[in-house]
């Protein structure tokens, strides 16, 4: 098994990476190397493959029905009215609000619970810690659809006798307030916090909770941003679970709203794509402003190994 880098080595690596970035930001010119051409070509192909579906979606969202039928590549005249129609016909205003509220609640819950859990696994020695962590990781192997029925019975009050949460906000948020993957992410990051900091905090009379809130959390912005972003993307795109636990539009999110454009007997592709663009726009905006912290968070959590 590969050894886990010590806190000191990891911190040094982070500092070195930050220095390199700063140097680049200072204006060091990019050097084209012929030997790198195959790499550039592969990257270009990968970028095209990744970007083409998005281009198709954006283009189709501005087409008329005829242009989608005739499989045009680009609209002759952009139909911005498709966005207005998607917004009004599918009640997108309500679904958008619901998606924002649900995502905010889940992100807050994940950050609080997973920070505490990740810290405990990383910094507190307690009996059975490693076994419990392995069991937690093992739950990552369980497909989410397998958990639907047990979760549904719980939120309906069949397992623990409370009032049903069907059509209520808790049904859409409580089952997702903590995830094994984010706990793992935090644990990996917190393991890289230098022990010297903990020693210094102890000398000052701080316990684990004060150390976590006063020292660890302020240092954890990259991984917190990563966790928030991943949680946001996952929650924002949820479809099957909200469809299962809501029978009225009151708390339905955007994913369910999009579904109404797929009728039982025929497509409305242009509206569907307009609706899809409205749905992914917030994700793109959020990622655009947090991409640096996201990358740094992934790197410093040790996921690259």
């Amino acid at each position: 098994m590969a050894s886990v880098p010590t806190g000191g080595a990891r911190a040094a690596r982070v500092r070195a990476g930050a220095a390199a970035r700063a140097e680049r930001a200072g204006g060091e010119p990019f050097e084209f190397r012929l030997s790198q051409l195959p790499v550039y070509f592969l990257l270009l192909v990968g970028a095209l493959v990744s970007f083409t579906p998005f281009l198709y979606m954006a283009s189709t969202s501005l087409m008329t029905l005829g242009e989608t039928i005739n499989r045009r590549l680009l609209p002759a005249h952009p139909q911005w009215v498709n966005y207005q129609r998607a917004w009004t016909e599918a009640d997108f205003a309500l679904y958008f609000r619901n998606s924002v509220v649900i995502s905010a609640v889940v992100i807050l819950g994940v950050l609080v619970t997973c920070t505490l859990a990740g810290y405990a696994f990383a910094r507190i020695r307690f009996p059975g810690r490693e076994i419990i962590f392995m069991v937690l990781l093992a739950t990552l192997m369980i497909p989410s659809t397998v958990t639907f029925i047990p979760n549904f019975l719980m939120i309906r009050g069949d397992v623990i006798p409370w009032s049903s949460w069907i059509n209520k906000l808790p049904a859409l948020t409580v089952p997702f307030l903590s995830t094994a993957f984010i706990i793992f992410l935090f644990r990996q990051f917190f393991q890289g916090i230098p022990d010297e900091l903990w020693d210094a905090a102890r000398i000052d009379g701080a316990g684990h909770l004060r150390f976590l809130t006063a020292v660890v959390v302020p240092m954890s912005r990259p991984v917190m941003t990563t966790a928030a972003l991943l949680t946001f993307v996952h929650t924002w795109n949820e479809f099957l679970w909200p469809l299962l636990v809501t029978t009225t539009p009151t708390w339905r999110p955007l994913g369910v709203g999009l579904y109404t454009f797929i009728t039982e007997a025929g497509p409305q592709t242009h509206y569907l794509m307009a609706g899809a663009m409205i749905t992914i726009l917030p994700v793109m905006v959020v990622y655009f402003f947090t991409q640096r912290q996201f990358t740094e968070g992934i790197a410093t959590s040790g996921l690259k190994g």
Partner: protein
């Protein structure tokens, strides 16, 4: 002794009559006033708007102050998955759309109400004239012999599998001498001839690239339709078992595999891709539900703009055998008698002649009442393809209304994919049939003993 026997017979008859009267009288003294009814459905966009209009009119006009709330819950499959965990609970809706096989599955979980006391109720039920007004096949489809003749649904609409064809393209192929018949193909050989000719001779008015003879969607209903067309069946009602390996099914799948191998047929690669390609004039034939006609019309009007229509699938049987299907509406258990009665009153309204006419015209489903058909003559004039399909109703057959059929359908779609990919037809269908009958046997274990 004679007198004693007569007395016994009299008492026995009285008991029987009172028992029957009791069953009929279940709802006679029930008051549905003020009930709020939740109706789960799968309609969206325009059909949902029409349904909401029907519901609004019912809410405004019914004398019992019954309020119906129609709620979109996703596709038929989504609704089926949502229903399973809430069967026989108060979380189930008051009315739900359900195919007959889905209703059968619900019945295994004691999840649907037997509608016979409501339909036959002297006070609330249908008159003899009303019952006779329904197309017999549609009316009987929701009666389950396996469940002692219980009625677990009521039909608000139906549709059928039809062959959509590009009439102008067929004319071009005929003029070019690449096919030897006029009009839509009526036999599999004609179908093959036209599909293969189309694959090599693109339509002159096509507005997109490509030329496909027949675009096949992998679906259990396509399987059933083609099997019927080849004189077979997918279910033996007498033996109560699936027959996916019957000679008709083997012939049908061999035919389709051959078309695919020859390059005359290809599989749909995106949802409703066949409709889109048909509208663009790049696919000569598709097979699908008649309820798709308004979408096909839009696709053609916005696409290549050509003459098109529908016809029976090409068949080797003397007459066409049309796969007719459609979800009925069922009343789930878990609610009071008052709510059940209120639900039935709405169902009666929904299937009344006036509402049926409105629903049929707006949705392009077929009405379930014969009297409504008589009122559609103007509609037939402006919708000739609909009329053509409607005229095929007497040739209807249906897929099995047995529990577990939803799961069997998923298996069959995978098996069709394997066959089109070159898997040996007989072996694949033998395995498919065994799997289907295992699923059925598993479901039937829970059947109530009569």
């Amino acid at each position: 002794m004679k007198r004693g026997t007569l007395v016994l017979v009299g008492v026995f008859t009285l008991l029987l009559a009172s028992g029957a009267a009791l069953a009929q009288a279940d709802y006679e003294n029930v008051d549905p006033t003020g009930q709020t009814i939740v109706f789960w459905h799968q309609h969206s966009q325009q059909r949902e708007q029409v349904l909401e209009d029907i519901v609004k009119k019912f809410n405004a006009s019914n004398p019992y102050s019954i309020t119906v709330k129609a709620e979109y819950q996703g596709s038929y499959g989504d609704i089926f998955r949502k229903m399973l965990p809430v069967l026989d609970t108060a979380d189930a809706p008051n009315i739900v759309v359900a195919y007959q096989n889905q209703a059968a599955t619900y019945a295994l979980g004691n999840g649907v109400v037997d509608l016979r006391p409501l339909v036959d109720s002297p006070k609330w039920g249908l008159s003899a004239a009303d019952k006779a007004d329904f197309f017999p096949g549609f009316y009987r489809a929701d009666i389950f012999p396996s469940f002692g003749g219980a009625r677990y649904g009521f039909p608000p609409n139906r549709s059928m599998e039809v062959m959509y064809y590009n009439a102008d393209w067929l004319k071009e192929l005929r003029a070019a001498g690449t096919i030897g018949f006029d009009g839509p193909p009526t036999t599999p050989e004609q179908f093959r001839q036209a599909a293969c000719a189309a694959a090599k001779n693109p339509f002159s008015k096509a507005t997109a690239r490509g030329s496909i003879g027949y675009e096949l969607s992998l679906d259990a209903s396509r399987f059933a339709s083609w099997t019927f067309a080849f004189g077979g069946n997918i279910f033996d009602a007498n033996a109560n078992r699936f027959t996916y390996d019957s000679p008709g099914a083997v012939q049908a799948m061999t035919f389709l595999q051959g078309l695919s191998k020859q390059g005359c047929a290809s599989i749909v690669t995106e949802r409703y891709g066949d409709q889109t390609d048909f509208g663009a004039g790049t696919t000569l034939f598709t097979i699908g539900s008649s309820s798709g006609m308004p979408y096909y019309k839009s696709a053609v009007d916005e696409g290549a703009k050509f003459a098109w229509s529908v016809a029976a699938l090409p068949h080797i049987t003397p007459d066409p055998v049309m796969d007719i299907y459609g979800a009925s509406v069922s009343i789930p258990t878990g609610h009071s008698k008052e709510a059940n009665l209120a639900s039935w009153i709405f169902i009666e309204y929904y299937t009344s002649p006036t509402v049926q006419a409105q629903w049929a015209k707006a949705s392009e489903y077929f009405p379930v009442r014969k009297s409504v058909a008589a009122e559609l003559s103007d509609y037939f004039d402006t919708h000739p393809a609909y009329k053509t399909a409607f005229d095929l109703l007497p040739y209807g057959a249906s897929e099995p209304p047995v529990p577990g059929y939803d799961f069997v359908r998923d298996e069959i779609a995978s098996d069709m994919a394997a066959i089109m990919d070159g898997a040996p037809v007989e072996n694949t269908l033998k395995t498919a049939n065994a799997t289907a009958n295992e699923i059925l046997a598993d479901q039937l274990k829970s059947l109530p003993k009569n």
